[in-house]
């Protein structure tokens, strides 16, 4: 049997049971590789349950730095008998299987084409520890030690990480190090070290940081000046609110008084969360909520109110697989249409699409500015893949010269100076009108906010002309929005191409990798990453400049493609839908395979560029 041989380029998958304490050991494993200067991208695959069900941790080691999920497993650490068959089957031919050999496994349970490495983990633990919880926890550390030996991970880096983790809790430090070494020594002594898969020190990590999107977005909300957060727990967004609380306690406590320069309310549901955000924003505080699909559905009525009454609100939607409760612990990009058009009547909402934790930080801060500027609800659309996985990304940066854009707000001084005030009066012709905060002035600037139609001075009216005037202004405002949204990022191919690809959000890492694959194939494909809705002209021009453009996304119905077609007035026949929606993160392999197939079909069948109409097969 020929075993896989690879250095700094392979995938290890840990199959565990949730609630068994494997998560921190696995993270330790991944981080130690990064400490050796070799990029890794780990991913949690966990059930919607607290204890006792299968959970996986996938670590892609990749010196080239691709952060996307690769697919497959070159080394399976099979710690969960529940999923044994499936896990064994998943190993790449020539790959490796590491398992707990305490209980002998019948031969039929293995495969001939992989190298099986048994280590009697339970036996070792039982011999060393008496406490059942210790037995369980240290088993994980022991296998990390063993894997370090097998894969050539420097033990010193692992120990340093343990040291950092247990700083101040030295009582815990020592037994962990001991367990680690025990595993390491055992492996060196009894297991086929080194494996064909090896980690070798490199310098490809640089000053990158290891960061979860939810944590980053939460910090973005702090830097962006959010003072009010109202939320309701829902996977995969809860950790954003929890991180916001943590950051606030650190950064937002008034030093003198010990009082909080923030208010966080865990509301009774999503209707209340968004209601509180709207109330706070109406009253001049920066406010946000974070949720996932079901929450947005419940918020729909309120979102329409904020649209029509023109109240800023920032909503971070960490998407999961829908519809309904769907697969709450799987990733998807399937709330794009909902967020763009949420609520009854004619409505449209700006959306930002961060590609990773770094942009989650930046765009959340930006969204607070944009919402104030546009006086409308603004969505930040991330997903479970971005939100709940640690990923290496460039360090976060902040320009200290930046000040908050609070938008058009009249102050007491301006009112005193006689500023003409009509709450819905478009004095600048950008569709955005001035507002005042409640309590500003004893006699000027008060107005009544409502979800019903009204005239430019906020007076209730059922007049058709006033209604239309207002609705058209809202369209004008949506046009203005484009100037405030992050611009698309274009990645031209090496040579001019008739083909293009559009992608967004968490698809970016896989897409970038796929582009490299195409380049290696000598296939030229221009690419554009959409970072916001409404789309700037550059997005529409990109489509118009190509014969055929693939829109790559992680949902069934091609939702961004729908938005492009209708909002950009584009012919759908020229937009191919590349769709991945089984709840796992999209891979470069998938994108490359799918587009390559379609490209060859396109080159056989001439493009329908000159043929109007006719349903496209996509």
């Amino acid at each position: 049997m020929k075993t896989l041989q690879a250095t700094n380029d392979f995938v290890i998958k840990f199959a565990n049971v949730n609630g068994s304490g494997s998560a921190s050991a696995n993270t330790l494993f991944a981080k130690s590789i990064a400490r050796m200067g070799v990029p890794v991208s780990p991913r949690n695959i966990f059930p919607s349950n607290i204890q006792g069900l299968p959970t996986w941790y996938e670590v892609r080691v990749c010196e080239a730095g691709w952060n996307a999920r690769r697919g497959g497993a070159d080394l399976m650490v099979a710690m969960n008998p529940q999923t044994w068959e499936k896990d064994v089957a998943e190993v790449t031919p020539g790959g490796y299987l590491f398992y707990d050999s305490t209980r002998p496994m019948p031969a039929g349970k293995f495969r001939d084409d992989i190298l099986v490495i048994g280590m009697p983990l339970t036996e070792i633990c039982n011999a060393t520890y008496t406490d059942p919880r210790q037995r369980q926890l240290f088993k994980n550390i022991i296998y990390v030690g063993a894997l370090a030996a097998l894969l050539g991970i420097e033990l010193a880096e692992v120990e340093k990480l343990i040291g950092e983790q247990y700083k101040g809790k030295e009582k815990l430090l020592e037994p962990n190090v001991k367990a680690l070494r025990m595993g390491h020594e055992y492996a060196l002594a009894k297991l086929p070290c080194p494996l064909g898969l090896q980690v070798q020190r490199a310098d490809k990590v640089g000053d990158k940081v290891f960061l979860e999107g939810n944590n980053a977005a939460a910090l973005g909300a702090v830097f962006g000046g959010a003072t009010v957060c109202a939320w309701y727990p829902i996977t995969p967004s809860s950790s954003m609110a929890e991180a916001f609380a943590k950051h606030c306690r650190k950064y937002r406590m008034d030093k003198e008084t010990g009082k909080n320069n923030f208010a966080i309310v865990q509301a009774e549901d999503e209707l209340a969360s968004i209601g509180m955000v709207i109330g706070a924003a109406w009253n001049g505080a920066r406010a946000f909520t974070c949720t996932s699909g079901p929450g947005i559905s419940l918020m729909s009525e309120f979102i329409g109110l904020a649209y029509f009454a023109e109240i800023p609100a920032t909503l971070v939607n960490v998407q999961r697989a829908g519809p309904s409760t769907g697969m709450p612990t799987r990733t998807q990009q399937s709330d794009v249409l909902l967020c763009a058009f949420a609520s009854h009547g004619d409505t449209k909402h700006p959306i930002l699409f961060p590609q990773d934790a770094k942009e989650a930080f930046e765009f959340t801060a930006d969204a607070l500015d944009i919402a104030d500027r546009l006086q409308t609800p603004v969505f930040v659309l991330t997903d479970l893949d971005i939100g709940m996985n640690e990923r290496l990304c460039d360090p976060l940066t902040w320009d200290d010269a930046r000040t908050y854009d609070r938008g058009k707000v009249l102050t007491k001084e301006q009112l005193d100076a006689g500023a003409r005030f009509g709450r819905y009066l478009d004095v600048d012709d950008d569709g955005i009108t001035y507002r005042t905060y409640p309590g500003t002035h004893p006699s000027r600037g008060s107005f009544f906010t409502r979800g019903t139609s009204r005239d430019r001075y906020a007076r209730y009216t059922e007049e058709g002309t006033a209604y239309v005037d207002n609705m058209q202004r809202l369209l004008r405002k949506f046009e203005t929005a484009k100037h405030f949204m992050p611009k698309p990022v274009v990645r031209p191919a090496a040579k001019p191409s008739r083909y293009g690809a559009i992608y967004y959000g968490s698809t970016a890492p896989a897409m970038e990798e796929a582009l490299a694959l195409f380049e290696a194939d000598g296939i030229h494909l221009d690419a554009l990453r959409v970072r916001a809705f409404p789309f700037q002209d550059a997005v529409i021009d990109f489509v118009n400049d190509h014969d055929h453009v693939f829109v790559v996304e992680q949902n069934r119905d091609g939702q961004l493609r729908t938005l492009l077609v209708t909002e950009g007035a584009l012919d759908p026949a020229r937009l191919g839908a590349v769709l991945h929606y089984d709840g796992t993160p999209i891979t470069a392999r998938f994108i490359h395979g799918d587009i390559a197939k379609r490209l060859s079909a396109l080159q056989v069948t001439p493009l329908r560029r000159t043929v109007a109409g006719g349903a496209s097969g996509e």
């Binding site: 940081v209 509180m276 976060l396 902040w398 979800g451």
Partner: protein
């Protein structure tokens, strides 16, 4: 005739309050409700209460849901910012507003459909959180604006205008508010301004979640025989347990009263609630006793009114949260943004 503009000039003899303002300064645009609607009397009582307390009109934020009752904030305090939100969800909007600026007075106005039917959840949770507000339900037992269907406060057995009998248990919002932790709970009747005005004043000065259930007949759809929210019915079944006098800290308290008949409750802000007992056996300082009393009288067909319960040492949501005394909406970049140095440290912790 609702289309006639109000005369702009104030009568020079109109009495002025401590701020030098007349009642007119607390009014809003002319009501578009039905002539005789109870809600209009409540608006008048709100105007009177704010004027008497010498509240600064622009320091009030008035919020409501949807319904005839929820329209009324347009009809008072036109110097205040107002927010007519969505049906049943005023409490969350008010809570959010309150979080943003703890210095304003928050007045929530709602209907029984708005608060007890669609809005029951938000009503309840705003009470449990102790949001510092005055929350008034203008309770007519029906949906006025959608033409007279029963709301969730309609009494079991009461008859609709078309003769249908309500079979669902009616919700007593005042009892619910007590049970859920509101720290000032009252009930009154739109037809009894003498009782209502001080109750509103008490609520406005109360430093926590203050709730007033005001029975407010709907002349268009619920003022007939068989209704338990008609003017006639309420007049005949109203049992006031006490009468209230609110003395703000500005006024000196001088007079002495014989003990027993009179009880004085001092609130956070220094205001004093002076309660004169009308029912000997009523104790507005015990939540449990108050609920029992109200419910057993209800079982006898009596509507208990007055200040039902007050907890003078109420702690509000901001105290629970430990929020800074400065309004959050006044904090700027300097207070809020940790800056690039902090960010560099954060980055460092992630390597």
């Amino acid at each position: 005739m609702t289309y006639l503009a109000k005369p702009k000039l104030h009568h020079p003899d109109l009495p002025k309050n401590a701020l030098g303002l007349t009642r007119r300064d607390y009014e809003g645009t002319i009501s578009t409700l039905c002539a005789g609607c109870g809600h209009d009397s409540i608006s008048a009582a709100i105007i009177q209460a704010c004027w008497e307390l010498a509240v600064q009109p622009h320091r009030v934020a008035k919020l409501s849901g949807i319904g005839c009752s929820s329209k009324t904030p347009t009809y008072f305090l036109d110097k205040s910012h107002g927010f007519n939100s969505v049906h049943g969800r005023m409490p969350s909007v008010l809570t959010g507003a309150n979080l943003a600026n703890r210095e304003l007075l928050y007045l929530g106005v709602s209907g029984d459909g708005d608060s007890a039917s669609i809005g029951l959840g938000q009503f309840a949770h705003s009470m449990r959180r102790g949001v510092n507000m005055t929350y008034i339900v203008e309770n007519n037992g029906v949906y006025g604006l959608t033409k007279g269907q029963f709301s969730a406060t309609a009494d079991r057995g009461s008859k609709s205008k078309r003769g249908a009998v309500n079979t669902d248990e009616g919700i007593d919002l005042a009892c619910l508010a007590m049970q859920l932790g509101a720290s000032y709970v009252a009930r009154s009747f739109s037809g009894d301004k003498h009782q209502l005005v001080p109750l509103i004043k008490g609520a406005l000065t109360h430093p926590g979640a203050a709730f007033i259930d005001v029975v407010s007949p709907c002349v268009a759809f619920n003022n007939h025989e068989g209704s338990t929210r008609s003017y006639d019915y309420v007049r005949h079944h109203n049992e006031a347990v006490n009468s209230l006098d609110v003395i703000t800290m500005h006024k000196e308290i001088t007079a002495e009263y014989p003990p027993g008949s009179l009880q004085e409750v001092r609130q956070h802000d220094g205001s004093v609630l002076r309660l004169r007992k009308l029912a000997d056996d009523y104790d507005s300082s015990s939540r449990i006793a108050a609920m029992s009393y109200v419910q057993s009288h209800y079982a006898r067909g009596e509507i208990v009114t007055g200040l039902l319960y007050v907890e003078p040492d109420a702690i509000d949501l901001h105290e629970h949260l430990g929020t800074t005394m400065r309004p959050l909406n006044e904090l700027g970049d300097k207070e809020l943004c940790p800056g690039s140095a902090a960010l560099a440290q954060f980055n460092a912790s992630l390597r």
